[in-house]
């Protein structure tokens, strides 16, 4: 059996599909029985998803214009 303190360290490997079949089986078996770890896994997923929703930083229009000018010079 897997304990909760071991489970929490395997979460990313699980989400990446990197666990070996035996460990994955024990991970999923633990998950089915433990609400605390189910929450932990969901919160790690929510964290990953929230990171993906941070607003974009974009290059300023001046910097972009300078690059396009540099491109025209480079091309000629």
């Amino acid at each position: 059996m897997l304990n909760c303190d071991e489970f929490v360290e395997l979460v990313t490997e699980y989400l990446e599909g990197g666990l070996d079949p035996d460990t994955e089986r024990r991970f999923v078996a633990h998950l089915a029985e433990c609400d605390g770890c189910d929450r932990y896994l969901n919160q790690m997923r929510a964290t990953r998803d929230a990171l993906g929703e941070l607003p974009a930083e974009s290059l300023g229009s001046e910097a972009r214009d300078r690059l396009l000018t540099a491109f025209r010079e480079w091309r000629s």
């Binding site: 990313t12 990446e16 290059l59 480079w74």
Partner: protein
């Protein structure tokens, strides 16, 4: 625009670019070498945001990060004739970025923690005090389950959560910060991030895990303060 390469972009190409789907590398590289400005502009528009975020992990200010991105694109133009396709074009561009950003980071004398002095390796990512001790009938199990997080509903709350996440990411040890930035914020694959940073898959996963666990911990603190 070079007529030999198909002339004006078709509507399909334009739509594809708006959705950040670029043509295959060999097509992009061919167009760049032929001086196709629209292709260059599309690359700059598609990749600069991730490059800014990545650069920001090495240098001290947003202005420096913008300089690094500009210098990278200029270096890409100088070097595109030598690009051999041994990695993807994006990986190649990002490696140039990382080199320029490192040099610039040293010039800014921003201290990037030396490997080994950071909490990058080893040690639990969740406070061991959260789990029952060896004498408990259920050793290694939660003393108390993590609290359920409230749903974030208003725009004000969403902004608040985002700023806590940004702060948590900025506070990470450098290698964790750059990995979580590329993987989770920019959505690059683990293979690509390993290629850009020239680290092993295992190392990458460990850094990502530690980084995510730290950001989760920060969110947990934030939400439990809200619930009190």
């Amino acid at each position: 625009m070079c007529p030999a390469l198909g002339g004006e972009m078709s509507a399909v190409d334009r739509d594809a670019w708006a959705g950040r789907i670029l043509p295959p590398d060999d097509v992009v590289v061919g167009r760049l070498r032929h001086g196709d400005e629209a292709t260059f502009a599309a690359l700059v528009d598609s990749w600069s945001r991730g490059m800014l975020r990545a650069a920001r992990t090495y240098v001290a200010s947003p202005e420096s990060a913008e300089d690094v991105v500009q210098d990278t694109w200029l270096a890409v133009l100088r070097g595109i004739g030598r690009f051999e396709g041994r990695s993807s074009l994006r990986t190649w561009v990002y490696r140039i970025l990382v080199n320029i950003a490192k040099t610039r980071g040293v010039k800014d004398s921003r201290t990037i923690p030396v490997e080994g002095l950071t909490s990058d390796d080893g040690g639990p990512t969740v406070d061991p005090a959260r789990f029952r001790g060896p004498d408990d009938p259920y050793p290694g199990h939660w003393k108390e389950f993590p609290q359920v997080w409230p749903s974030v509903e208003t725009e004000f709350e969403r902004r608040d959560v985002r700023s806590h996440i940004e702060a948590a990411v900025s506070g990470l040890p450098h290698r964790q910060r750059v990995v979580i930035t590329l993987r989770d914020i920019e959505g690059y694959s683990s293979e690509e991030v390993c290629g850009i940073l020239e680290i092993s898959a295992v190392n990458q996963r460990v850094l990502l895990h530690r980084a995510r666990a730290a950001v989760r911990g920060r969110l947990e603190e934030y939400f439990s303060a809200q619930l009190r």
